[in-house]
């Protein structure tokens, strides 16, 4: 480590949605950061409708509001006014509707919209030093600080290292933190759809034995075209075939599963896919290291909670670090990291287990299982307490909330 380099509070490895939000939230509290990302921002924000979208829960939206991002995003939000859960489009549908019609169950955004807003905000923030198209050659963590060496020879130093590179986090691997890991033998196919009728701001979760088929309401195109994001779970052995389908055949398969909910499917964007699995680390901290987002816990996208979980990590970590700095303690100090670990470890694990259970529950084939599920859904429909709990979970407002996630 050289004395001449620009030592900062945080060294954030991975500049995705979670890493970028962390840098911004930390900057709002006066913390300086290096953010290192392999990708070229121009590629990540390039035009095109790839269907990748995220549900932003009420709690996550509070975080965006508190760090000044909500203003930039408000116009692009597609509020979810209802979540409809259905077993193979049979009767016995379960609807989640907030009591107050002005309230939402979250807001849908194309990931590209989120990335652009974050880039713009980060560009204006003097406390963030962005290193794009940068590969990390070596990571070091020691008693007094952390550092990385980049491929171009540059050395970056900070008090705390943060692994935010997503599921395959090399920082986590480098620290030797093991991950509990099982595959579902399923793959999520993601695509943007345009359709004839408006979606009415309804998010659909339609469960099939092969896995959930989710339609998430996006904002209409500039020319008024109605759009939704599709997250379709298929068995691994069928995935390659589905991805190879031509547009017309793919559309036919999609229509078979969603019926005429939104009228005719008028167009389908490029398809992407990723394997689904249950990922959870036994620990999310080590000496002068904290993991956030999917680097710590990758969950099934069935309930759209992955990014929200990562943003709760951000809120908790920034609060812990801010408290530390008020007390004259360094960001990398061990007691603060232990507090972050206690705060986030269990919450993330519970959400991961719940979504895992949901996937397994709806993955049981056969008419009897289907009838039991519909009976169960009807029960939840009639029990306000249980329904409120599910809605609070979807909004992300249950549990011990970090200050940044409270309005």
């Amino acid at each position: 480590m050289s004395d001449t380099s620009d030592r900062r509070d945080l060294l954030i490895l991975g500049g995705g949605l979670v890493g970028m939000t962390l840098a911004l939230a930390a900057a709002k509290k006066g913390m300086t950061s290096h953010v290192v990302d392999r990708a070229d921002p121009a590629d990540l924000t390039a035009e095109g409708f790839d269907g990748r979208a995220s549900a932003i829960s009420t709690a996550s939206w509070n975080l965006f509001t508190n760090i000044g991002l909500a203003q930039r995003l408000e116009a692009d939000a597609s509020p979810i006014s209802k979540i409809a859960v259905s077993d193979q489009l049979k009767p016995g549908q379960l609807d989640f509707v907030p009591d107050d019609p002005a309230d939402t169950l979250g807001r849908m955004f194309a990931n590209r919209t989120l990335r652009l807003a974050l880039f713009e905000a980060a560009k204006d923030e003097p406390l963030i030093h962005w290193h794009a198209r940068a590969g990390v050659i070596e990571r070091r963590r020691g008693e007094h600080g952390v550092s990385v060496r980049l491929a171009d020879g540059k050395e970056l130093e900070a008090s705390l290292m943060i692994g935010a590179e997503g599921r395959g986090s090399p920082t986590r691997e480098d620290a030797g933190i093991a991950m509990a890991n099982w595959q579902y033998d399923h793959r999520a196919i993601i695509a943007g759809l345009t359709h004839e009728k408006p979606h009415g701001q309804v998010a659909w979760e339609i469960f099939y034995p092969a896995g959930p088929f989710a339609l998430l309401p996006l904002k209409d195109d500039a020319d008024g075209t109605h759009r939704s994001a599709l997250v379709w779970t298929v068995a691994e052995r069928d995935a390659a075939g589905v991805l190879k389908l031509g547009d017309r055949a793919f559309t036919a398969e999609v229509e078979k599963r969603m019926g005429r909910l939104f009228g005719a499917i008028t167009g389908v964007g490029p398809r992407s896919s990723y394997p689904l699995g249950f990922h959870h680390t036994a620990t999310i901290t080590a000496e002068r290291l904290a993991l956030v987002g999917d680097a710590a816990h990758g969950i099934h996208p069935i309930a759209g909670q992955g990014l929200n979980l990562g943003l709760r990590d951000v809120g908790a970590l920034v609060q812990v670090l801010d408290d530390n700095l008020r007390l004259g303690l360094e960001p990398g100090e061990a007691q603060g990291l232990a507090r972050y670990e206690r705060w986030r470890g269990l919450d993330a694990f519970m959400v991961a287990l719940a979504t895992d259970g949901l996937t397994r529950l709806f993955g049981v084939p056969g008419e009897t299982a289907s009838a039991v599920r519909r009976f169960g859904m009807a029960g939840v429909q009639r029990l306000p307490v249980l329904k409120d709990w599910f809605m609070d979970e979807a909004r992300g407002v249950s549990g011990d909330m970090p200050d940044l996630l409270v309005a």
């Binding site: 007094h144 007390l327 303690l329």
Partner: protein
């Protein structure tokens, strides 16, 4: 004790040796000082509130002690001195064991903090007065408590703030701090002598004799869910502030 007191006013040599032997591990958060590391954010939270109340500084600020002189008595390897320095103070740390101040100086250098460390007896130092004087978990280890308190007050600026923390002398502290904690190794054996512990009433009297008024004590309690935390329960450990009631008579 009378002869020893002349030369060594307050430090008990066996105590200094006990802590000196632990010096190497002071900064390992999982080492023999783990309990002190866990205690640190708790007592710092109390201290921060006391600082903001005393000087009217903003609770959000990062350097509430900017421009202030701060003295930490019984500083160990600098667990408290370093945060004080980051909060902006010009810090002096003093400890009876030279092993401790050596470890403290080495750590401060690594952390790039400018802190003055001194080994020895407070009474023998001619270092003037300080805006903030702290003695955390120290008074229970000194032999002559009135003399020790007098030395603390001698180094306190007229409008200065004194902060002390120490274990209470109760049935609970005898059972938990000395008995159980040492038996399971949470605190190194021989760290505490229960009969030397001071109750809040006794401490108020010691401070009162030097013209200082002590605040209501805050407890530092332990629960399996919250860990160590500030509490109304003072039966194990407590922390207080003190300030002068009237100008010193000198």
């Amino acid at each position: 004790m009378a002869d020893a007191r002349k030369a060594k006013l307050t430090i008990r040599e066996d105590e200094a040796a006990h802590f000196g032997a632990l010096a190497a591990e002071w900064w390992d958060p999982a080492g023999s000082s783990a309990m002190l590391h866990r205690l640190n954010p708790v007592r710092l939270a109390f201290l921060r509130e006391a600082i903001d109340l005393h000087w009217g500084t903003s609770i959000e600020g990062r350097r509430p002690l900017a421009g202030k002189l701060s003295l930490d008595v019984g500083c160990g390897a600098g667990l408290l001195c370093e945060p004080l320095a980051r909060m902006g103070a010009e810090v002096t740390g003093i400890d009876a064991a030279p092993e401790n101040t050596a470890a403290a100086a080495a750590h401060a250098e690594g952390a790039k903090l400018d802190i003055r460390y001194m080994a020895g007896e407070l009474a023998e130092q001619d270092i003037g007065t300080f805006d903030l004087v702290t003695a955390m978990e120290v008074i229970e280890h000194v032999a002559d408590k009135p003399a020790f308190v007098a030395q603390l007050v001698r180094h306190l600026a007229e409008d200065g703030l004194l902060v002390l923390s120490t274990p209470n002398r109760t049935a609970q502290s005898r059972l938990l701090l000395v008995g159980a904690a040492e038996a399971v190794g949470a605190i190194p054996r021989g760290t505490h002598h229960w009969s030397d512990f001071v109750t809040p009433e006794e401490l108020a009297d010691l401070l009162g004799a030097e013209g200082l008024k002590m605040s209501e004590p805050r407890g530092i309690a332990f629960s399996p869910f919250k860990g160590l935390h500030l509490s109304d329960d003072t039966s194990l450990n407590y922390i207080v502030t003190a300030r002068r009631t009237a100008p010193p008579s000198t």
